[in-house]
Symmetry: none
Subunit: 107 residues, 2 copies
DNA sequence: CACGTTCTTCACCGCGCGTTCACGACTCGA
DNA sequence: TCGAGTCGTGAACGCGCGGTGAAGAACGTG
């Protein structure tokens, strides 16, 4: 199940506005690139659930993930860095080795 | 009888989501490796009944259990440890000496 | 075209994962 | 009481997955 087009999404202290391409962390605006934003949106459309790299790639990049492509991991890292700098005390993106990633404001 | 493909499985306070590789213990996400997850799934597909090592190995590893292979026991131990840490008051995996293991939220 | 930004790819490395071994506790039958 | 079989448990080890920094390609904007 995906979030419908432009709806506002809340995940913990994060507020994602798909229509504007804007993310607010505790009220303060985050500067994200297009890819970073799409990836966050893909993760946010399955909050609390584990999403495979294939699915994330499909949603954020479009097309199918080629074997050996690490783009997904690299951008998870970039996203993590920015989220962590905005909200140091929280961990949002959790790794599930062998499965994928899970966006969850609660540990 | 096995659980069909992706159905959500509930065992006591455990919620197993086969499609995601995710287990919730009382709502909180558990971090399990692929093997641990598959083993739990194998046990959960026969809740309340004793499952032989051969059957567990067939379901979680694939192929037949070679004599002397202790992988199954080792992973039962790993699973127990994680379940016990998540839900200290309960015992889920019960040993039936000479027969196998039984997953049961009730003693 | 020039320049800054974004994206992809690469390489390195630490750590988690799965397998296997070793030892000890326990049970049961001879 | 002894030996064989079963199971719990910690640890060693090789390997692949994922974290991470950086270089270079591609993009977009003026």
């Amino acid at each position: 199940m995906q979030t419908s087009q432009g709806e506002l999404v809340r995940v913990g202290e994060l507020e994602i506005r798909p229509l504007e391409g804007l993310v607010l962390a505790d009220g303060r605006a985050l500067v994200l690139s297009v890819r970073e934003f799409d990836l966050l949106l893909a993760l946010a459309s399955h909050v609390g659930r584990v999403v495979s790299r294939e699915e994330l790639y499909r949603q954020a990049w479009g097309g199918t993930l080629r074997s050996g492509d690490r783009s997904c991991d690299v951008y998870v890292h970039k996203l993590r860095t920015k989220l962590e700098r905005a909200l140091p005390q929280q961990r949002f993106i959790h790794t599930h080795v062998g499965f994928g990633y899970r966006l969850d404001p609660a540990q």
